[in-house]
């Protein structure tokens, strides 16, 4: 296939050799492991490395080792959720061919929130195993709706239309959330805690609960990666290359929705991670989705673990929920991306 001369320089700039990719991948993996250890050591009570290793070995004597035992599930959950959101964002950006796609921007998180709040209020849900189906269902309905609404009209789903449809849908859904919550003083606290994303206070049960969903979503996304590469060339060209465009799109979107819905079910809405991670990864290892998706998973895990640790440092001895921190870090980057785009391509 010949590459048109106008995009040749861009293509060359974005192409990365396998060596470079492997190098970045290894570096990211090492970084994630280091961040995980740091996340276990850092907190309102700092623990030294010896105690961490002892606690990992199964011993649970003394305060420090008990603290470690508490922090291990939290760290694991941060890794899982971060990986899920990173991949979910990369897939959504690929499916919609839209640099601003993100579960938070598209209102998918709010849809999951509303579904869970309704579940709490009307069906008396109290546990994450009940939330998860509501969250995935809410995320699925909202994402299909926002995408359908945003892609009506002549030019299809432009970033502007999608972002506005997402923001407007999120605004409408939050009205429904307050209508559900306001007359029920008894669930207001539960619902409020749930509306802010965080990984604090979790147990191994939550991690075990979402692992099958994450594995399924991740495998589905990886399976669709070559198809996403073809979609990036445009629907006609992808069809010409033998891709079943509708099927690829539906499968990969399903993978993204499962990932983001499951992550939202256990950790609450965490915005902007899915937006920022794929952009950063594309700069480092290029646009090939077969590499981009795993790399997004690793860096997403790293960023969420780092944000969670940071949230425990900046507000010591209290904690800053990771959902708040990612929004504070991610929104400025979103604005940078918006400013870098030419107006025509927005």
């Amino acid at each position: 296939m010949t590459v048109p001369t106008t995009v040749e320089s861009t293509a060359a700039r974005l192409r990365r050799s396998t060596h470079v990719r492997l190098l970045w991948m290894c570096a990211a993996l090492v970084l994630v492991v280091a961040l995980m250890i740091a996340s276990i050591m850092i907190g309102s009570r700092s623990v030294d490395l010896g105690d961490v290793l002892a606690a990992l070995g199964g011993s649970a004597t003394g305060f420090d080792q008990a603290a470690v035992a508490k922090r291990i599930p939290r760290t694991l959950l941060a890794v899982c959720v971060g990986a899920a959101l990173g991949v979910s964002g990369a897939v959504m950006q690929g499916v919609t061919r839209n640099p601003l796609a993100d579960p938070g921007i598209l209102g998918v998180n709010t849809g999951a929130s509303l579904a869970v709040v309704i579940g709490i209020a009307s069906f008396g849900l109290t546990s994450a195993s009940g939330y998860i189906w509501f969250a995935i269902g809410g995320a699925a309905i909202t994402s299909v709706f926002v995408y359908a609404v945003g892609s009506l009209g002549r030019q299809g789903a432009t970033p502007l239309k999608l972002a506005l449809a997402g923001a407007a849908t999120a605004a409408a859904l939050s009205s429904f959330i307050s209508a559900v919550v306001l007359p029920r003083g008894d669930i207001a606290d539960l619902a409020r805690d749930w509306q802010i994303g965080g990984v604090g206070g979790v147990t191994m049960d939550s991690v075990e609960l979402i692992l099958p969903f994450l594995a399924g979503g991740f495998l589905l996304s990886i399976y669709c990666a070559p198809g996403l590469n073809a979609l990036a060339l445009g629907d006609e060209l992808a069809a010409g290359l033998g891709q079943h465009v509708g099927l690829t799109r539906a499968l990969s979107a399903a993978g993204a929705v499962v990932l983001c819905g499951a992550a939202t079910a256990v950790a609450g809405p965490i915005g902007f991670l899915g937006l920022v991670i794929p952009h950063a990864c594309r700069l480092l290892i290029g646009v090939d989705h077969r590499w981009l998706l795993p790399f997004s998973a690793v860096t997403g895990a790293g960023l969420l673990t780092a944000s969670d640790s940071l949230g425990r440092i900046v507000a010591r001895p209290a904690e800053l929920d990771v959902g708040i921190l990612t929004a504070l870090i991610g929104a400025p980057l979103f604005i940078v991306i918006v400013r870098r785009q030419k107006v025509r391509s927005l």
């Binding site: 506005l164 923001a167 409408a172 939050s174 009205s175 306001l182 929004a327 604005i335 918006v338």
Partner: protein, 353 residues
């Protein structure tokens, strides 16, 4: 900006046809404004009469005229009258401010509550209530200052070789999610009592309205709305696109900045008094535009629609539903389906307002 529908009968001259069309539009505009005004007055009077105790219209009239009526003087004069007046003023402010943004950015979805212009005022007010423990005056001042500050920040960040409308919308969405995170953070740290107040404020509510809250909004409306309405012609011309407007002699950047400051001023004062009443700024413009049709400026009809919405929603929220909902929840629920309908319609036709 849709072209006028083709007429079956061909007029003698184009100029005559245009003039006739313009007259017809002005007549329609005038009748829409009249009907809306009558409706606002009717609901206003009804909201003075209806409540726990019903007062007939002559007693209400005597109270408003300043006479002492046992019972009614307190209930109507001190409780219902300030509330209804505040509802009208806040509705006017939101309607005017909202339609200004929608016209300027040529997108009905780009209303201040969706692109984050009003979230600055909300974040500041929650900060004032929770962290600083301010009273209502302090909260209002803080909300007004922060509302203007955030709007200018969004404008500045969107400014790059001129402020493109699209960039303004997207930057606004980004800033608003950041402010939402800050609001959530404040709420997690809030004590139980402050939390109730902050949540009520965030929902947008007219509970506890008194004359002290009415006066600043009234002053802002009297000063700012004539300025805004004076700009309506330049505003309509900017709808033709930046280049065309410049060619027609409108300083686009200057008009835009002036209009933003005025409209945000209106919205910030209204938000400070009643909280961000959901969707009023967003709904008024499109409803008014559909009523008046294309052509004349939708500013005044939009303001009236806003007033009507807030008055009616407050009445519904107080008495028509089982629980007493704050007005913002009612407008939010009313607004959501219309919003979705609107998005679908706009995206399909690709038009503005």
């Amino acid at each position: 900006m849709s072209p006028t529908p083709t007429r079956s009968l061909i007029p003698s001259t184009t100029a005559e046809a245009v003039a006739g069309l313009r007259r017809a539009r002005t007549r329609r505009w005038a009748s829409v404004v009249t009907v809306l005004s009558v409706l606002v007055i009717a609901v206003f009077v009804a909201s003075l009469m209806i409540g726990q105790t019903f007062y007939p219209i002559d007693e209400v009239a005597r109270v408003v005229a300043g006479q002492q009526v046992p019972g009614a003087s307190f209930t109507v004069g001190r409780l219902r009258l300030p509330r209804a007046v505040l509802a009208v003023l806040v509705g006017l402010c939101f309607g005017l401010g909202g339609v200004t943004f929608q016209t300027m950015l040529r997108n009905p979805l780009a209303s201040p509550d969706i692109i984050g212009i009003s979230s600055g005022a909300s974040a500041a007010a929650v900060f004032g209530i929770v962290t600083l423990g301010l009273g209502s005056t302090g909260v209002s001042v803080l909300a007004i200052v922060a509302g203007l500050g955030v709007a200018l920040l969004i404008y500045a960040l969107a400014f790059k070789n001129g402020a493109a409308g699209i960039r303004l919308i997207l930057v606004g969405i980004g800033i608003s999610s950041m402010l939402t995170a800050l609001i959530n953070w404040e709420l997690t740290r809030a004590a139980q009592w402050d939390l109730q107040e902050a949540l009520r404020w965030l929902a947008g509510s007219l509970n506890g309205a008194n004359w002290d809250a009415v006066i600043p909004v009234l002053i802002a409306l009297v000063i700012l709305s004539p300025l805004l309405i004076g700009q309506s012609k330049s505003l309509s011309i900017t709808q033709l696109g930046d280049d065309t407007a410049e060619a027609l002699g409108v300083g686009v950047s200057r008009t835009r900045l002036f209009v933003i400051v005025t409209a945000v001023g209106l919205i910030a004062f209204a938000t400070a008094a009643a909280g961000p009443v959901a969707f009023v700024a967003f709904l008024s413009g499109p409803i008014a535009a559909r009523l008046t049709g294309p052509g004349p400026s939708p500013l005044i009809p939009a303001g009236l629609v806003g007033a009507l919405l807030v008055l009616t929603a407050d009445l519904v929220g107080q008495f028509a539903l089982g629980t007493r909902y704050p007005v913002g929840v009612v407008t939010g629920i009313l607004g959501a389906p219309y919003l979705l309908y609107l998005i679908i319609r706009i995206n399909r036709s690709g038009g503005s307002l």
